[in-house]
Protein backbone atom coordinates (compact mmCIF):
# COMPACT_ATOMS: atom_id res chain seq x y z
CA UNK A 1 0.00 0.00 0.00
CA UNK A 2 2.76 2.36 1.01
CA UNK A 3 4.88 1.42 -2.01
CA UNK A 4 1.91 1.98 -4.32
CA UNK A 5 1.30 5.40 -2.76
CA UNK A 6 4.92 6.42 -3.21
CA UNK A 7 5.00 5.24 -6.83
CA UNK A 8 1.85 7.23 -7.52
CA UNK A 9 3.37 10.35 -5.92
CA UNK A 10 6.45 9.98 -8.11
CA UNK A 11 4.23 9.71 -11.20
CA UNK A 12 2.41 12.92 -10.20
CA UNK A 13 5.74 14.67 -9.66
CA UNK A 14 6.92 13.50 -13.09
CA UNK A 15 3.79 15.03 -14.62
CA UNK A 16 4.29 18.29 -12.70
CA UNK A 17 7.94 18.60 -13.67
CA UNK A 18 7.77 17.41 -17.29
CA UNK A 19 7.18 20.86 -18.86
CA UNK A 20 9.73 22.47 -16.57
CA UNK A 21 12.34 19.92 -17.56
CA UNK A 22 11.47 20.46 -21.22
CA UNK A 23 11.83 24.22 -20.80
CA UNK A 24 15.31 23.89 -19.26
CA UNK A 25 16.36 21.33 -21.88
CA UNK A 26 15.21 23.58 -24.72
CA UNK A 27 17.06 26.54 -23.25
CA UNK A 28 20.26 24.55 -23.81
CA UNK A 29 19.18 23.17 -27.20
CA UNK A 30 20.90 24.58 -30.28
CA UNK A 31 17.86 24.20 -32.55
CA UNK A 32 15.53 27.19 -32.76
CA UNK A 33 12.63 24.99 -33.88
CA UNK A 34 12.86 22.90 -30.72
CA UNK A 35 13.77 19.80 -32.71
CA UNK A 36 14.97 16.67 -30.95
CA UNK A 37 17.39 15.16 -30.11
CA UNK A 38 19.01 18.00 -28.19
CA UNK A 39 22.30 19.46 -29.36
CA UNK A 40 23.80 21.17 -26.30
CA UNK A 41 24.50 24.86 -26.74
CA UNK A 42 24.48 28.06 -24.73
CA UNK A 43 23.75 30.31 -27.69
CA UNK A 44 20.32 31.39 -26.35
CA UNK A 45 21.93 32.65 -23.15
CA UNK A 46 24.44 34.60 -25.23
CA UNK A 47 21.70 35.96 -27.51
CA UNK A 48 19.72 36.91 -24.42
CA UNK A 49 22.48 39.28 -23.31
CA UNK A 50 21.78 41.51 -26.30
CA UNK A 51 17.99 41.21 -26.41
CA UNK A 52 17.01 44.71 -25.27
CA UNK A 53 13.19 44.35 -25.01
CA UNK A 54 13.49 41.15 -23.00
CA UNK A 55 16.17 42.58 -20.72
CA UNK A 56 14.28 45.79 -20.02
CA UNK A 57 11.10 43.80 -19.36
CA UNK A 58 13.03 41.63 -16.89
CA UNK A 59 14.40 44.74 -15.23
CA UNK A 60 10.86 46.17 -14.93
CA UNK A 61 9.63 42.88 -13.47
CA UNK A 62 12.32 42.84 -10.81
CA UNK A 63 11.84 46.53 -10.02
CA UNK A 64 8.08 46.18 -9.58
CA UNK A 65 8.45 42.97 -7.60
CA UNK A 66 10.87 44.67 -5.17
CA UNK A 67 8.68 47.75 -4.78
CA UNK A 68 5.53 45.63 -4.41
CA UNK A 69 7.20 43.47 -1.81
CA UNK A 70 8.31 46.44 0.29
CA UNK A 71 5.08 48.46 0.08
CA UNK A 72 2.69 45.50 0.46
CA UNK A 73 4.60 44.09 3.43
CA UNK A 74 4.68 47.45 5.21
CA UNK A 75 1.04 48.29 4.56
CA UNK A 76 -0.17 44.71 5.10
CA UNK A 77 1.77 44.25 8.34
CA UNK A 78 0.29 47.49 9.71
CA UNK A 79 -3.20 46.28 8.87
CA UNK A 80 -2.52 42.87 10.40
CA UNK A 81 -1.33 44.55 13.59
CA UNK A 82 -4.61 46.44 13.90
CA UNK A 83 -6.75 43.43 12.91
CA UNK A 84 -5.04 41.08 15.39
CA UNK A 85 -4.33 43.31 18.36
CA UNK A 86 -7.14 45.85 18.49
CA UNK A 87 -10.78 45.26 19.30
CA UNK A 88 -13.18 47.35 17.25
CA UNK A 89 -16.48 47.10 15.42
CA UNK A 90 -16.41 45.97 11.81
CA UNK A 91 -13.31 43.82 12.22
CA UNK A 92 -15.01 40.82 10.61
CA UNK A 93 -16.18 42.96 7.71
CA UNK A 94 -12.67 44.32 7.17
CA UNK A 95 -11.32 40.77 7.12
CA UNK A 96 -13.95 39.78 4.55
CA UNK A 97 -12.92 42.72 2.36
CA UNK A 98 -9.50 41.10 1.98
CA UNK A 99 -11.04 38.19 0.10
CA UNK A 100 -12.20 39.77 -3.19
CA UNK A 101 -8.68 40.49 -4.50
CA UNK A 102 -7.81 36.82 -3.96
CA UNK A 103 -11.11 35.22 -4.92
CA UNK A 104 -12.24 37.17 -7.98
CA UNK A 105 -10.59 35.95 -11.22
CA UNK A 106 -7.71 38.19 -12.23
CA UNK A 107 -9.29 38.72 -15.62
CA UNK A 108 -12.19 40.56 -13.97
CA UNK A 109 -10.02 42.59 -11.59
CA UNK A 110 -7.53 43.38 -14.35
CA UNK A 111 -10.13 44.66 -16.77
CA UNK A 112 -11.81 46.64 -13.98
CA UNK A 113 -8.48 48.30 -13.14
CA UNK A 114 -7.92 49.09 -16.82
CA UNK A 115 -11.34 50.75 -17.11
CA UNK A 116 -10.94 52.74 -13.90
CA UNK A 117 -7.32 53.81 -14.36
CA UNK A 118 -7.93 54.86 -17.95
CA UNK A 119 -11.06 56.76 -17.01
CA UNK A 120 -9.59 58.65 -14.06
CA UNK A 121 -6.41 59.54 -15.92
CA UNK A 122 -4.12 57.34 -13.83
CA UNK A 123 -3.42 55.67 -17.14
CA UNK A 124 -1.32 52.62 -17.88
CA UNK A 125 2.36 51.93 -17.31
CA UNK A 126 4.69 50.96 -14.52
CA UNK A 127 2.96 53.08 -11.85
CA UNK A 128 -0.40 51.47 -12.70
CA UNK A 129 1.24 48.04 -12.53
CA UNK A 130 2.64 48.86 -9.12
CA UNK A 131 -0.77 49.98 -7.81
CA UNK A 132 -2.32 46.74 -9.08
CA UNK A 133 0.38 44.40 -7.83
CA UNK A 134 0.44 45.91 -4.34
CA UNK A 135 -3.35 45.59 -4.08
CA UNK A 136 -3.11 41.91 -5.00
CA UNK A 137 -0.30 41.24 -2.56
CA UNK A 138 -1.76 43.03 0.52
CA UNK A 139 -4.34 40.31 1.39
CA UNK A 140 -1.70 37.56 1.13
CA UNK A 141 0.62 39.54 3.41
CA UNK A 142 -2.12 40.02 6.02
CA UNK A 143 -3.00 36.31 5.94
CA UNK A 144 0.65 35.30 6.31
CA UNK A 145 1.76 37.71 9.06
CA UNK A 146 -1.53 37.56 11.01
CA UNK A 147 -1.10 34.01 12.36
CA UNK A 148 2.56 34.78 13.06
CA UNK A 149 1.47 37.64 15.30
CA UNK A 150 -1.00 35.44 17.21
CA UNK A 151 1.84 33.29 18.53
CA UNK A 152 3.56 36.29 20.11
CA UNK A 153 2.21 37.02 23.56
CA UNK A 154 0.93 40.54 24.17
CA UNK A 155 2.09 40.49 27.79
CA UNK A 156 5.72 40.51 26.66
CA UNK A 157 5.15 44.01 25.33
CA UNK A 158 3.22 44.93 28.48
CA UNK A 159 6.10 43.70 30.61
CA UNK A 160 8.50 45.92 28.66
CA UNK A 161 6.20 48.91 29.16
CA UNK A 162 5.83 48.27 32.90
CA UNK A 163 9.62 48.45 33.02
CA UNK A 164 9.42 51.93 31.52
CA UNK A 165 9.54 51.33 27.79
CA UNK A 166 7.36 53.46 25.51
CA UNK A 167 4.74 51.55 23.44
CA UNK A 168 6.71 52.28 20.25
CA UNK A 169 9.98 51.17 21.75
CA UNK A 170 8.37 48.05 23.21
CA UNK A 171 6.95 47.11 19.82
CA UNK A 172 10.20 47.59 17.95
CA UNK A 173 12.45 45.88 20.47
CA UNK A 174 10.16 43.07 21.71
CA UNK A 175 7.44 42.17 19.23
CA UNK A 176 9.07 42.99 15.93
CA UNK A 177 12.14 40.75 16.32
CA UNK A 178 9.88 37.79 17.19
CA UNK A 179 7.57 38.64 14.31
CA UNK A 180 10.34 39.08 11.75
CA UNK A 181 10.43 35.54 10.27
CA UNK A 182 6.80 35.67 9.17
CA UNK A 183 7.20 39.26 7.95
CA UNK A 184 10.13 38.21 5.76
CA UNK A 185 8.18 35.19 4.57
CA UNK A 186 5.32 37.52 3.59
CA UNK A 187 7.71 39.86 1.78
CA UNK A 188 9.09 36.96 -0.25
CA UNK A 189 5.59 35.76 -1.03
CA UNK A 190 4.58 39.25 -2.21
CA UNK A 191 7.72 39.37 -4.35
CA UNK A 192 6.82 36.07 -5.99
CA UNK A 193 3.17 37.06 -6.51
CA UNK A 194 4.32 40.16 -8.33
CA UNK A 195 7.05 38.46 -10.34
CA UNK A 196 4.64 35.83 -11.66
CA UNK A 197 1.67 38.14 -12.20
CA UNK A 198 0.63 38.17 -15.82
CA UNK A 199 -3.07 38.92 -16.25
CA UNK A 200 -3.18 42.26 -14.45
CA UNK A 201 0.17 43.37 -15.89
CA UNK A 202 -1.13 42.49 -19.34
CA UNK A 203 -4.08 44.86 -19.10
CA UNK A 204 -2.19 47.65 -17.33
CA UNK A 205 1.10 47.76 -19.23
CA UNK A 206 1.62 50.54 -21.72
CA UNK A 207 2.95 49.77 -25.22
CA UNK A 208 6.72 49.39 -25.04
CA UNK A 209 6.80 49.29 -21.24
CA UNK A 210 6.01 45.80 -20.06
CA UNK A 211 7.06 43.13 -17.62
CA UNK A 212 8.59 39.78 -18.44
CA UNK A 213 5.37 37.70 -18.46
CA UNK A 214 3.68 40.24 -20.75
CA UNK A 215 6.70 40.25 -23.06
CA UNK A 216 6.70 36.44 -23.11
CA UNK A 217 2.99 36.36 -23.95
CA UNK A 218 3.36 38.74 -26.86
CA UNK A 219 6.35 36.84 -28.22
CA UNK A 220 4.48 33.54 -27.95
CA UNK A 221 1.72 35.07 -30.05
CA UNK A 222 4.10 36.64 -32.52
CA UNK A 223 6.47 33.71 -32.85
CA UNK A 224 8.51 32.46 -29.98
CA UNK A 225 12.26 32.72 -29.58
CA UNK A 226 14.22 30.22 -27.49
CA UNK A 227 15.76 33.12 -25.53
CA UNK A 228 12.55 33.02 -23.51
CA UNK A 229 13.42 29.49 -22.35
CA UNK A 230 16.83 30.80 -21.34
CA UNK A 231 15.53 33.71 -19.29
CA UNK A 232 12.77 31.55 -17.76
CA UNK A 233 15.44 29.08 -16.65
CA UNK A 234 17.28 31.91 -14.91
CA UNK A 235 14.08 33.12 -13.24
CA UNK A 236 13.21 29.56 -12.24
CA UNK A 237 16.53 29.29 -10.44
CA UNK A 238 15.90 32.61 -8.65
CA UNK A 239 12.38 31.72 -7.52
CA UNK A 240 13.43 28.24 -6.38
CA UNK A 241 15.96 29.84 -4.08
CA UNK A 242 13.27 32.23 -2.82
CA UNK A 243 10.79 29.46 -2.00
CA UNK A 244 13.47 27.48 -0.20
CA UNK A 245 14.16 30.51 1.99
CA UNK A 246 10.40 31.00 2.41
CA UNK A 247 9.93 27.37 3.50
CA UNK A 248 12.83 27.63 5.92
CA UNK A 249 11.43 30.82 7.46
CA UNK A 250 7.87 29.59 7.85
CA UNK A 251 9.27 26.44 9.48
CA UNK A 252 11.27 28.63 11.82
CA UNK A 253 8.14 30.59 12.70
CA UNK A 254 6.11 27.52 13.57
CA UNK A 255 8.88 25.95 15.63
CA UNK A 256 9.21 29.10 17.68
CA UNK A 257 5.43 29.26 18.11
CA UNK A 258 5.17 25.71 19.40
CA UNK A 259 7.75 26.24 22.06
Amino acid sequence: MTALGRTYLLAILAFLYLPIAVMIAMAFNNSELYTLPIEPSTRWFIRLASDQPLLSASRNSLLIACATSIIATLVGAMAALALERKQFRGRTLLRLLLLPPIAIPWLIIGTAMLVFFFWTGIGRGLHALLIGHVALAIPYVVFIVGPGLQTIRVDLEEAAMSLGSTPMHAFFTVTLPLWLPSVIAAALFAFAVSLDQFVISYFLSAPGVSTLPVEIYSSIRKGFTPEINAISTIFLAVSSVLILIFAQLSNLGSRRGSR
Binding site: L9, P19, M23, L36, T111, A112, D196, L212, F235
Partner: protein, 274 residues
Protein backbone atom coordinates in the same frame (compact mmCIF):
# COMPACT_ATOMS: atom_id res chain seq x y z
CA UNK B 1 -4.65 54.69 11.86
CA UNK B 2 -2.87 51.46 10.97
CA UNK B 3 -5.61 50.23 8.68
CA UNK B 4 -5.97 53.26 6.45
CA UNK B 5 -3.11 52.58 3.99
CA UNK B 6 -4.10 48.97 3.29
CA UNK B 7 -7.81 49.62 2.85
CA UNK B 8 -7.22 52.89 1.02
CA UNK B 9 -5.02 51.03 -1.43
CA UNK B 10 -7.56 48.23 -1.90
CA UNK B 11 -10.32 50.80 -2.43
CA UNK B 12 -8.34 52.61 -5.09
CA UNK B 13 -7.15 49.49 -6.88
CA UNK B 14 -9.97 46.99 -6.45
CA UNK B 15 -13.26 48.35 -5.12
CA UNK B 16 -13.48 51.61 -7.07
CA UNK B 17 -12.46 49.86 -10.31
CA UNK B 18 -15.16 47.22 -9.81
CA UNK B 19 -17.66 50.03 -9.28
CA UNK B 20 -16.41 51.85 -12.36
CA UNK B 21 -16.75 48.69 -14.39
CA UNK B 22 -20.32 48.18 -13.17
CA UNK B 23 -21.06 51.74 -14.34
CA UNK B 24 -19.39 51.10 -17.72
CA UNK B 25 -21.37 47.95 -18.30
CA UNK B 26 -24.57 50.02 -18.52
CA UNK B 27 -23.19 52.47 -21.09
CA UNK B 28 -23.73 52.43 -24.82
CA UNK B 29 -20.18 53.56 -25.53
CA UNK B 30 -17.13 54.25 -23.41
CA UNK B 31 -17.36 57.80 -21.98
CA UNK B 32 -14.28 59.19 -23.70
CA UNK B 33 -14.71 62.36 -25.74
CA UNK B 34 -17.52 64.88 -25.69
CA UNK B 35 -20.43 62.55 -26.43
CA UNK B 36 -23.20 62.55 -23.80
CA UNK B 37 -23.58 59.43 -21.69
CA UNK B 38 -26.20 57.00 -22.90
CA UNK B 39 -27.39 54.26 -20.64
CA UNK B 40 -28.54 50.85 -21.82
CA UNK B 41 -28.90 47.29 -20.62
CA UNK B 42 -28.10 46.00 -24.11
CA UNK B 43 -24.72 44.71 -22.98
CA UNK B 44 -26.34 42.34 -20.54
CA UNK B 45 -28.65 41.07 -23.26
CA UNK B 46 -25.57 40.02 -25.26
CA UNK B 47 -26.31 36.35 -24.64
CA UNK B 48 -29.73 36.70 -26.24
CA UNK B 49 -28.46 38.88 -29.11
CA UNK B 50 -25.41 36.77 -29.91
CA UNK B 51 -26.39 33.12 -29.55
CA UNK B 52 -22.82 31.94 -30.18
CA UNK B 53 -21.90 33.37 -26.75
CA UNK B 54 -24.06 30.73 -25.09
CA UNK B 55 -21.92 28.06 -26.78
CA UNK B 56 -18.75 29.85 -25.72
CA UNK B 57 -19.96 30.12 -22.13
CA UNK B 58 -20.77 26.41 -22.17
CA UNK B 59 -17.25 25.65 -23.48
CA UNK B 60 -15.82 27.62 -20.54
CA UNK B 61 -17.97 25.71 -18.06
CA UNK B 62 -17.01 22.41 -19.72
CA UNK B 63 -13.33 23.28 -19.47
CA UNK B 64 -13.87 24.21 -15.82
CA UNK B 65 -15.67 20.95 -15.03
CA UNK B 66 -13.15 18.73 -16.82
CA UNK B 67 -10.21 20.48 -15.18
CA UNK B 68 -11.75 20.41 -11.71
CA UNK B 69 -12.87 16.78 -12.06
CA UNK B 70 -9.50 15.54 -13.29
CA UNK B 71 -7.68 17.51 -10.59
CA UNK B 72 -9.92 15.86 -7.97
CA UNK B 73 -9.37 12.36 -9.40
CA UNK B 74 -5.60 12.83 -9.62
CA UNK B 75 -5.14 15.06 -6.59
CA UNK B 76 -7.05 13.22 -3.86
CA UNK B 77 -5.03 9.97 -4.13
CA UNK B 78 -1.84 12.04 -4.26
CA UNK B 79 -2.87 13.91 -1.11
CA UNK B 80 -3.76 10.65 0.65
CA UNK B 81 -0.48 9.07 -0.40
CA UNK B 82 1.40 12.13 0.82
CA UNK B 83 -0.42 12.14 4.16
CA UNK B 84 -0.42 8.38 4.84
CA UNK B 85 2.44 6.76 2.90
CA UNK B 86 5.21 9.21 3.75
CA UNK B 87 6.39 10.83 6.94
CA UNK B 88 9.01 13.07 8.47
CA UNK B 89 11.72 14.49 6.27
CA UNK B 90 10.65 12.81 3.02
CA UNK B 91 7.11 14.11 3.51
CA UNK B 92 8.43 17.66 3.86
CA UNK B 93 10.58 17.34 0.77
CA UNK B 94 7.76 15.85 -1.34
CA UNK B 95 5.41 18.58 -0.11
CA UNK B 96 7.89 21.25 -1.16
CA UNK B 97 8.39 19.59 -4.54
CA UNK B 98 4.65 19.67 -5.19
CA UNK B 99 4.40 23.37 -4.32
CA UNK B 100 7.55 24.40 -6.17
CA UNK B 101 6.13 24.40 -9.75
CA UNK B 102 3.68 27.08 -8.56
CA UNK B 103 6.55 29.48 -8.38
CA UNK B 104 7.64 29.14 -11.96
CA UNK B 105 5.92 31.44 -14.36
CA UNK B 106 2.54 29.99 -15.38
CA UNK B 107 2.88 31.33 -18.89
CA UNK B 108 6.18 29.58 -19.45
CA UNK B 109 4.80 26.30 -18.14
CA UNK B 110 1.89 26.53 -20.59
CA UNK B 111 4.30 27.31 -23.40
CA UNK B 112 6.43 24.32 -22.46
CA UNK B 113 3.39 22.13 -23.04
CA UNK B 114 3.30 23.30 -26.66
CA UNK B 115 6.84 21.93 -27.03
CA UNK B 116 5.67 18.64 -25.51
CA UNK B 117 2.39 18.19 -27.36
CA UNK B 118 3.11 19.46 -30.87
CA UNK B 119 4.02 17.40 -33.94
CA UNK B 120 7.65 16.40 -33.55
CA UNK B 121 7.45 17.45 -29.89
CA UNK B 122 8.64 15.51 -26.87
CA UNK B 123 5.63 13.20 -26.70
CA UNK B 124 5.69 12.47 -30.44
CA UNK B 125 9.45 11.88 -30.28
CA UNK B 126 9.13 9.53 -27.32
CA UNK B 127 6.42 7.55 -29.08
CA UNK B 128 8.64 7.10 -32.14
CA UNK B 129 11.50 5.85 -30.00
CA UNK B 130 9.19 3.06 -28.84
CA UNK B 131 7.26 2.52 -32.07
CA UNK B 132 9.24 3.89 -35.03
CA UNK B 133 6.48 3.12 -37.55
CA UNK B 134 3.70 4.97 -35.72
CA UNK B 135 2.20 7.94 -37.56
CA UNK B 136 3.21 11.38 -36.26
CA UNK B 137 0.62 12.92 -34.03
CA UNK B 138 -0.03 16.24 -32.41
CA UNK B 139 -2.32 17.04 -29.51
CA UNK B 140 -1.64 20.74 -29.75
CA UNK B 141 -4.57 23.04 -30.61
CA UNK B 142 -7.17 20.63 -29.29
CA UNK B 143 -9.56 20.47 -26.35
CA UNK B 144 -7.45 17.83 -24.54
CA UNK B 145 -4.39 20.09 -24.86
CA UNK B 146 -6.21 22.90 -23.02
CA UNK B 147 -7.32 20.47 -20.30
CA UNK B 148 -3.81 19.01 -19.89
CA UNK B 149 -2.30 22.47 -19.50
CA UNK B 150 -4.94 23.61 -17.00
CA UNK B 151 -4.82 20.40 -14.94
CA UNK B 152 -1.07 20.80 -14.77
CA UNK B 153 -1.42 24.41 -13.65
CA UNK B 154 -4.04 23.80 -10.95
CA UNK B 155 -3.35 20.27 -9.66
CA UNK B 156 -1.13 21.49 -6.77
CA UNK B 157 -4.10 23.47 -5.33
CA UNK B 158 -6.17 20.28 -5.08
CA UNK B 159 -3.29 18.29 -3.59
CA UNK B 160 -2.72 21.01 -0.98
CA UNK B 161 -6.33 21.43 0.14
CA UNK B 162 -6.97 17.64 0.20
CA UNK B 163 -3.69 17.09 2.03
CA UNK B 164 -4.79 19.44 4.81
CA UNK B 165 -7.97 17.37 5.25
CA UNK B 166 -6.25 14.01 4.84
CA UNK B 167 -3.50 14.79 7.32
CA UNK B 168 -6.12 15.58 9.96
CA UNK B 169 -7.79 12.14 9.75
CA UNK B 170 -7.24 10.22 12.96
CA UNK B 171 -5.82 6.74 12.35
CA UNK B 172 -8.21 5.47 15.01
CA UNK B 173 -11.20 5.95 12.69
CA UNK B 174 -9.63 3.76 10.05
CA UNK B 175 -8.59 1.17 12.63
CA UNK B 176 -12.10 1.15 14.05
CA UNK B 177 -13.64 0.60 10.63
CA UNK B 178 -11.17 -2.16 9.87
CA UNK B 179 -11.72 -3.93 13.17
CA UNK B 180 -15.45 -3.88 12.46
CA UNK B 181 -14.73 -5.80 9.25
CA UNK B 182 -14.89 -3.04 6.62
CA UNK B 183 -12.73 -3.62 3.55
CA UNK B 184 -10.55 -0.99 1.91
CA UNK B 185 -13.10 0.29 -0.68
CA UNK B 186 -15.75 0.63 2.04
CA UNK B 187 -13.32 2.41 4.38
CA UNK B 188 -12.48 4.78 1.56
CA UNK B 189 -16.10 5.51 0.65
CA UNK B 190 -17.52 5.73 4.18
CA UNK B 191 -14.67 7.12 6.25
CA UNK B 192 -11.89 8.71 4.21
CA UNK B 193 -13.91 10.36 1.46
CA UNK B 194 -16.40 12.16 3.75
CA UNK B 195 -13.54 13.42 5.91
CA UNK B 196 -11.69 14.70 2.84
CA UNK B 197 -14.80 16.40 1.49
CA UNK B 198 -13.99 19.89 2.86
CA UNK B 199 -10.60 19.75 1.14
CA UNK B 200 -12.16 18.52 -2.10
CA UNK B 201 -14.74 21.30 -2.06
CA UNK B 202 -12.36 24.14 -1.31
CA UNK B 203 -9.89 22.76 -3.87
CA UNK B 204 -12.65 22.59 -6.46
CA UNK B 205 -13.61 26.23 -5.88
CA UNK B 206 -9.98 27.35 -5.97
CA UNK B 207 -9.68 25.64 -9.35
CA UNK B 208 -13.07 26.13 -10.99
CA UNK B 209 -13.23 29.89 -10.40
CA UNK B 210 -9.95 30.91 -12.06
CA UNK B 211 -10.31 28.28 -14.80
CA UNK B 212 -13.58 29.71 -16.13
CA UNK B 213 -11.81 33.09 -16.29
CA UNK B 214 -8.68 31.73 -17.98
CA UNK B 215 -7.71 33.11 -21.34
CA UNK B 216 -4.04 32.59 -22.05
CA UNK B 217 -4.14 28.81 -21.60
CA UNK B 218 -6.97 28.27 -24.15
CA UNK B 219 -5.31 30.72 -26.52
CA UNK B 220 -1.86 29.18 -26.44
CA UNK B 221 -2.85 25.50 -26.25
CA UNK B 222 -6.18 25.65 -28.06
CA UNK B 223 -5.28 27.91 -30.96
CA UNK B 224 -8.36 28.61 -33.04
CA UNK B 225 -10.60 26.24 -31.11
CA UNK B 226 -9.64 27.86 -27.81
CA UNK B 227 -12.47 30.39 -27.70
CA UNK B 228 -13.74 30.82 -24.15
CA UNK B 229 -15.46 33.57 -22.15
CA UNK B 230 -11.98 34.58 -21.05
CA UNK B 231 -10.68 35.11 -24.57
CA UNK B 232 -13.91 36.91 -25.62
CA UNK B 233 -13.57 39.34 -22.70
CA UNK B 234 -9.87 39.83 -23.45
CA UNK B 235 -10.76 40.66 -27.07
CA UNK B 236 -13.31 43.29 -26.01
CA UNK B 237 -10.63 45.13 -24.06
CA UNK B 238 -7.55 44.57 -26.18
CA UNK B 239 -8.76 44.30 -29.77
CA UNK B 240 -12.40 45.27 -30.27
CA UNK B 241 -12.28 48.14 -27.74
CA UNK B 242 -15.89 47.49 -26.85
CA UNK B 243 -15.29 48.16 -23.16
CA UNK B 244 -18.95 48.35 -22.08
CA UNK B 245 -19.63 44.90 -23.57
CA UNK B 246 -16.46 43.52 -22.00
CA UNK B 247 -17.47 45.03 -18.66
CA UNK B 248 -20.92 43.47 -18.85
CA UNK B 249 -19.46 40.07 -19.73
CA UNK B 250 -16.97 40.38 -16.86
CA UNK B 251 -19.79 41.17 -14.47
CA UNK B 252 -21.86 38.27 -15.74
CA UNK B 253 -18.87 36.05 -15.01
CA UNK B 254 -18.49 37.62 -11.57
CA UNK B 255 -22.14 36.73 -10.95
CA UNK B 256 -21.39 33.13 -11.89
CA UNK B 257 -18.39 33.11 -9.56
CA UNK B 258 -20.46 34.46 -6.65
CA UNK B 259 -23.06 31.78 -7.39
CA UNK B 260 -20.37 29.11 -7.12
CA UNK B 261 -19.25 30.53 -3.76
CA UNK B 262 -22.85 30.64 -2.52
CA UNK B 263 -23.47 27.04 -3.59
CA UNK B 264 -20.26 25.89 -1.95
CA UNK B 265 -21.22 27.56 1.33
CA UNK B 266 -24.61 25.85 1.37
CA UNK B 267 -23.31 22.51 0.17
CA UNK B 268 -21.38 21.09 3.13
CA UNK B 269 -23.94 22.13 5.69
CA UNK B 270 -26.72 20.38 3.83
CA UNK B 271 -24.57 17.28 3.51
CA UNK B 272 -23.83 17.25 7.22
CA UNK B 273 -27.45 17.63 8.22
CA UNK B 274 -28.57 14.89 5.82
Amino acid sequence: MLLAPAYGWLTLAVFLPLGAMLFFSFLKAAPFGPRPLQFTIDNYLAFARRPYLVGVAWTSVEIGLWTTGLCAILGLPAALALARATRGRSQQVLFLLIVLPFWTNGLVRIFSWTMVLREGGVLDYALHLVAPSAPTFSLLYSFPAIIIGLVHAYLPYMILTCYLSAAAIDDAYIEAARSLGARAPIIFAKVVLPLCLPGLISGSILIFVPVIGSFMEPRILGGRIGVTMGTIIEDQFVQAFNWPLGAALSFTMLGAVLLVFALARGFPRRLLSA
